[in-house]
Amino acid sequence: MCEANQKDLTIICRCEDITVDEVRAYIEQGVTDLEQLKRLLRVGMGPCQGRTCTPLIVNELARATGRPVREIPLTVFRQPTTPVKLGVLAGGTDHE
């Protein structure tokens, strides 16, 4: 999480407030896998589920590793695609 008083931040994941510098620091340490970055930083785990940050992070990974974008593995697209309230889930599925 970025410091509130820091200035001129470049945000890569808006939902989780992660900066591009934080992502690059991990990549420099050898974390060149989107799945690992997600677990370490929570990038892509907010309300938008990576719709904004995933393409940006994939570009960072491609640039850092010299691999083409198409060869960077993505994370799993699990259900649900958008946040659902627990109360809605607890209401059960309509099986009429």
């Binding site: 470049t10 719709r51 904004t52 993505l74 809605v88 889930l89 059960g92 309509d94 099986h95």
Partner: protein, 358 residues
């Protein structure tokens, strides 16, 4: 569990056309959209389309949306579910949908995914300041709600959306300081670009945004020229006093449901990102799952409507529905699509589609 012949996810131009064409052949359709209205991005399109008459030239998107939505609501074969979000697709062929705080399981015989695209964004310092908008948000504010996003705008991206939204901002009485474009050429159709240039808005190609300024909100932006290798040229910085930075840097397909369904995907930059492989019937690698519109590759509303019509006809035909004119109708739409994608303007999309065929 609801059973239906064809479920369509997305009620934008592609989904509406798919629903109407499938229903026309006699298929029973569920049309699912997360908004409380039908039409998708069409409802923000207050400008006239152009092209040929079949492609609804000189009509406005907002009117097309209304007309198609009326036809859809009037069709007894189409059940419309608005404010309904597709939450997931499961290996047993079940689509989970949330509507009005309830969850429905829908098992369709055919599925047409027409979920559209999402806006891309850019990395630059202070890109989280209030006043940094996506072009879609600006279009919603101005054209749907009648709210000005600010007083003076820097538009980033000179594709069709960037240039059209700039013009619509001018119409709304908002100043557009400049349009910048990282590519060496303007991506928009000349008819749109020359309109904003005539109105006095400069377009800087080979320029990008270096940073936004401001403490609590945007108060300005620094723009810099790019060299042939897309690197900033020191000393070419320009300062703009703006309170809005509008990002119009392209869209990417919204493909979650396709990944969940196990459709084979391929990364095609010309189509905006990862897209499903599909055959000439717009059927993906998973039999019975069709795609249409921006989710199959970022294009425009006219193409989305034609793809939707094709997917709708093909999905219904695969269930055994037919009419005497089916073959002719399909060939007609294909010819129109080909026309739309012909010439230099369609070069990128043709190159992209060639990589996405099954």
């Amino acid at each position: 569990m609801k059973h239906t012949e064809i479920a369509i996810v997305g009620g934008g131009p592609a989904g509406l056309a798919a629903a109407l064409n499938a229903a026309k052949l006699g298929a029973r359709v569920h049309l699912i959209d997360r908004n409380d209205y039908l039409g998708g991005q069409l409802i923000k399109q207050t400008h006239r389309f152009f092209g040929s008459k079949e492609q609804r030239a000189s009509e406005r998107g907002i009117d097309i949306a209304r007309e198609l939505a009326n036809q859809v609501t009037a069709s007894k074969n189409i059940q419309v579910m608005t404010e309904a979000t597709a939450l997931g697709y499961y290996e047993d062929g079940v689509l989970l949908v949330e509507q009005h705080k309830k969850i429905f399981a829908i098992k369709p015989e055919r599925l047409i995914i027409a979920t559209g695209g999402a806006e891309k964004t850019l990395l630059f310092p202070n890109n989280d300041l209030p006043g940094v908008y996506g072009a879609g948000a600006v279009q919603t504010l101005v054209n749907v709600f009648g709210v000005k996003p600010g007083k003076r705008v820097l538009m980033v991206g000179a594709g069709n959306i960037g240039v059209i939204v700039s013009y619509q901002l001018l119409q709304a009485g908002v100043e557009v300081a400049a349009i910048i474009e990282a590519a060496p050429r303007i991506g928009a159709y000349w008819v749109h670009a020359s309109k904003v240039v005539r109105a006095g808005v400069p377009i800087y190609t080979r320029h990008t945004i270096q940073r936004a300024h401001g403490h609590r909100e945007v108060t300005g932006a620094t723009v810099v020229q790019l060299d042939e290798n897309w690197q900033p040229v020191p000393g070419t910085e320009k300062e703009f006093d703006v309170d809005v930075i509008c990002l119009s840097v392209g869209l990417t397909p919204l493909t979650e449901l396709l990944w969940q369904a196990g459709c084979r995907m391929v990364f095609v930059p010309e189509l905006g990102g990862n897209v499903p492989l599909r055959n000439e019937h717009l059927e993906t690698s998973v039999p019975g799952i069709y795609v249409a519109g921006d989710v199959a590759g970022i294009e425009e509303a006219s193409a989305a409507m034609m793809e939707g019509a094709l997917a709708g006809l093909n999905a219904a035909a695969s269930l055994g529905y037919t009419t005497e004119s089916l073959g002719l109708d399909r060939r007609n739409i294909l010819a129109q699509l080909e026309g739309l994608r012909s010439g230099p303007v369609g070069e990128k999309i043709r190159k992209g589609l060639a990589q996405a065929l099954l």
